[in-house]
Symmetry: C2
Subunit: 429 residues, 2 copies
């Protein structure tokens, strides 16, 4: 190693986990631009929620280290090269996906303050402010907590134990890729930024997918990795749009309409493969049954909770009922996938529609059973909009284990969206 | 990477496999010093023998590349630091193991010419000259051929396939080490220089043994690695001593005596843990039965062919018959070992004598079944003294599959050494 590099490395007070504002999911930037235009005055609160309460994050992770990492993220600004890439690159076949007014704002952005407090063996981490600013905290906050937890577990390991740990993890990922390679006509993207083992590990996994799958690897949700590895940035929209729109609704009638308002705003901004319905925020079945006909003209649907095969069947039936040909539609599976479920879903649906997969945590963080006590197993950490303009948000999804919001509001939403009994499914990641 | 390092690396015409005259087995240097003193005028021919004829070395390895590697070895001289280490280090508890006259000669040494010719799909590689010069070709010649074969197979592999190959090989070695760690009172050394996958790989394996086994790892036969990793250099003597002494014998009586002459010369030079009998050159049983009593006073025995449990039992019985207490004796197993046989032999003999293991090819070259076609599996390549002062050498060992020499001479040796029927055992490595 040359002296200059060593001296440069000595200048870091910490080893930063997130080193770029575009080390985030592509859909956050698409949604951010949409919010920046359509709801620029909305105030929100985002909050970190550890669904796996058996993992005592506040015992594992030093508060000072966590603050240093979060402070470092607040010091980040979009670099010139990153801005050039966002302005000049083609996304989903389209040049200038990001408008000039948005880019000018983004170039000046620093993330807003955070609020961190220890509560028992967990951290309470919240972000408040303008929606389009606060929303960009979600992915880096999750990535920092996931990686600090990895570091805490790995800290005691010796050099060769570490080598073997990564040798085993690499072998595991590669064997998964070899299985995926056998699936004819596969299309799969990396959706694993938020709950990755570490940045370097996600970057390695993406490179392994590039080399192992070739064109079957359609890209990564991570903008920084997409830029560096010269692959497609992948993603469309997420639950936070209907959740915040719904929280802002002034009446039950407006609430019932809110999820379609989201789609309507999106419809104006995007076409083609970016017109992907995320139907499960308040129950897939009801959402589709009550959807306006123009929504059946959209390109596809993303299945993100509940039994994925049942949800896919609901979508196929819905398209057929609306006179659409499912063979021209795309179904994107993105919930808790691993190779076996990917293979099974592909087998079941490949002949009925265009199928793609967004593979997340079990691509970029499958360290299950690799250390004693299983201390590196992934767990269910999320960072969600919990309030908008002072009102609580609600998410139901197709799995009551993923529902969130105050009980009274959940009951109201279930009534408004006519959600009946739901099947409980364990949330692993 | 800094520019100077890159420029420096560009200067290499080839990527040399053997970069030091002490990248060799310690016992070669001990034997070399002995020959330098006791038989300085002996002329020998060493020859490469590929016992695994199914591997077409001449098809796999380019002759030009092989010549470049061998030429590079001929350009090597003992470095100042290497000389300092050999002169100043403690070996087997003894300072100045290497005498000044030997070191002065070694400091001026360059290896003698080689003779290389293609014969069908194999190479004929021979070395002729003074014994103490030619003998130092054995280990580097083997290491070069083994590593060029590895490189030939690996050459077509892509970057991630290579990463996974080494990830799997590392995991395999580490899992072996974890099994060895469970053996109470184990003492084991690396004997894997000659048939290693590559130099870097042997160096990694040695470091893994250091970290994984602690004091149960007693050292390595490789002098360069012993020096760099600051562990013991391990080894005593080999078959070439009795083979050459025997070839030089002028009569059957002198032949019958020759293996004991070797021991007698060694007895004068060494004591303690260096007094290790290698009894199998012409049959273990007969050698021990006819041995002089002073040999029973030696510290131990090395088992290098045949059924190791049977040979160990023969040694135990022999010591008891000679009034020696086997609990004060050392048995060193060194033939074709892997973790299961090491565990079994330890279990069987640990209570009856001091036990150690010299673990060779299946430590430093267990790439079995890691590439399609099993093209990286280790194989049985040796480099032996085949003639001394114009007379052929003979080796019988305790396994007729390892016998070598002209048929007539083999018959004569079997008669002189009263070797009866022998059990055939497949030679894997």
């Amino acid at each position: 190693m040359d002296i200059a590099t060593r001296v440069y490395n000595h200048k870091w007070k910490i080893d930063p986990i997130v080193r770029s504002l575009i080390d985030t999911d592509f859909y956050k930037l698409l949604m951010c631009q949409s919010v920046f235009r359509n709801r620029p005055d909305t105030h929100v609160r985002f909050s970190l929620i550890n669904r796996t309460t058996s993992i005592p994050l506040a015992d594992l992770i030093d508060e000072g280290e966590l603050r240093e990492q979060l402070d470092h993220i607040r010091s980040l600004r979009l670099s010139r090269g990153e801005s050039t890439w966002l302005r000049g690159n083609t996304f989903y076949g389209k040049r200038q996906m990001f408008r000039s007014d948005f880019m000018e704002w983004f170039e000046g952005l620093r993330l807003p303050p955070y609020h961190l407090e220890r509560r028992g063996d967990q951290y309470e981490l919240t972000f408040e402010g303008l929606w389009h600013e606060v929303m960009l905290w979600e992915i880096p906050a999750l990535a920092v907590l996931m990686e600090l937890r990895s570091r805490a577990v790995i800290n005691d390991m010796r050099r060769f134990e570490l080598q073997i740990l990564y040798a085993r993890a690499m072998t595991r990922v590669w064997e998964k890729i070899e299985k995926l390679r056998a699936i004819d006509g596969l299309g799969i993207a990396d959706f694993g930024t938020r709950r990755r083992h570490s940045f370097l590990w996600q970057d390695w996994c993406a490179q392994a997918m590039i080399e192992g799958l070739g064109p079957a690897f359609t890209g990564t949700s991570n903008c920084l990795i997409a830029m560096r590895r010269e692959v497609e940035a992948i993603g469309t929209n997420a639950h936070e749009l209907p959740m915040v729109y719904s929280a802002l609704a002034e009446s039950d009638e407006a609430l019932a309409q809110a999820p379609y308002d989201v789609m309507s705003d999106w419809h104006e901004e995007h076409d083609g493969n970016l017109r992907i319905i995320l139907p499960d925020t308040y129950g897939t079945k009801g959402f589709l049954d009550r959807a306006p006909d123009w929504l059946a003209g959209w390109t596809g649907i993303r299945i993100d909770s509940g039994d994925p095969a049942k949800a896919a069947q609901i979508a196929l039936d819905w398209w057929r009922a609306r006179g659409e040909d499912p063979l021209e539609k795309r179904i994107i599976f993105s919930d808790g996938l691993d190779v076996d479920s990917i293979a099974a879903l592909h087998r079941q649906f490949a002949g009925q529609a265009m199928i793609s997969f967004g593979w997340g945590t079990l691509l970029t963080n499958d360290f299950r059973d690799l250390v004693p006590g299983n201390g590196l197993a992934p767990f269910s950490l999320v960072c969600k909009a919990v309030a908008a303009n002072g009102r609580p948000t609600v998410k139901l999804s197709d799995n009551p284990e993923k529902a969130m919001g105050p009980a009274g509001e959940i009951a109201r939403y279930k009534r408004v969206f006519q959600v009946g009994d739901q099947e409980k499914i364990d949330v692993v990641v």
